[in-house]
């Protein structure tokens, strides 16, 4: 079975631009979470989605948005990019949002903002 897949793996943008990152969860997993990992730090929670609804949001500005599609894949959008948005963006999936279920992470999308 395929794990969590993310695209693109690497991308370079300039300040002020917009970016869309994509995630396909493990088959059968209905919950997707997004995390931002800045170099040298642990991942920080951005969003959690379940059954196409937002079920949690971290301390990130409104420039960050996400959505989940009927097939449970997800997109993370970031507008008006800042240099500080440069990071590894991780997607993770689990069967349901319950903390009892293990999160499986993808390899991430490495965003560089110049």
């Amino acid at each position: 079975d395929a794990g969590v897949t993310q695209s693109p793996t690497h991308l370079i943008k300039t300040r002020g631009q917009h970016v869309t990152l994509r995630c396909s969860p493990i088959s059968g997993h209905k919950s997707v979470s997004w995390y931002q990992q800045v170099l040298g730090q642990g991942p920080q929670f951005i969003f959690q989605y379940y059954e196409k609804e937002e079920r949690g949001r971290g301390n990130f500005p409104d420039r960050f948005s996400a959505r989940q599609f009927p097939n449970y894949s997800s997109e993370l959008n970031v507008n008006a990019l800042l240099l500080g948005d440069s990071a590894l963006y991780l997607c993770a999936s689990r069967p349901t949002p319950s903390g009892a279920n293990v999160l499986t992470f993808g390899a991430g999308s490495r965003l560089t903002v110049l």
């Binding site: 969590v4 919950s31 979470s33 995390y35 040298g40 730090q41 642990g42 991942p43 920080q44 929670f45 959690q48 079920r55 949690g56 971290g58 991780l90 993770a92 689990r94 949002p97 319950s98 903390g99 279920n101 293990v102 999160l103 499986t104 992470f105 993808g106 390899a107 991430g108």
Partner: protein, 110 residues
């Protein structure tokens, strides 16, 4: 705001040595998880501990959850070069959000 502090931030040791990584918080978590992350990859779960005082062993790795469920430790016996990586602790909530520590970068030299 729930915070997790890991120590040390960096650890450089020789193969065969033992080491311990600590994860501390002022908050209570429903579970505590340890992950290992290699460059270019996402974190991979090593273990989940949920009961205060719980001890779990995974080959040469021993994980402990504090009695009050606020802290945890990871002990590696006889480290190998393959243990090199970023070790992350993460506190879990009942609704699934994970709060990560800043990580410990472990380098094991041959």
């Amino acid at each position: 705001t729930q915070l997790l502090e890991q120590s040390p931030q960096f650890l450089s040791i020789q193969e065969g040595e033992n080491l311990t990584v600590y994860c501390n918080s002022s908050s209570v978590f429903s579970s505590l998880q340890w992950y290992r992350q290699e460059p270019g990859e996402g974190p991979v779960l090593l273990v989940t501990v949920v009961t205060g005082g719980e001890v779990k062993k995974l080959k040469r790795l021993t994980f402990q959850f504090g009695d009050a469920r606020k802290d945890s430790s990871l002990h590696i016996t006889a480290a190998q070069t393959g243990d090199t990586g970023l070790y992350l602790c993460a506190g879990g909530t009942s609704y699934g959000k994970l709060t990560f520590g800043q990580g410990t970068i472990l380098t094991v030299h041959p």
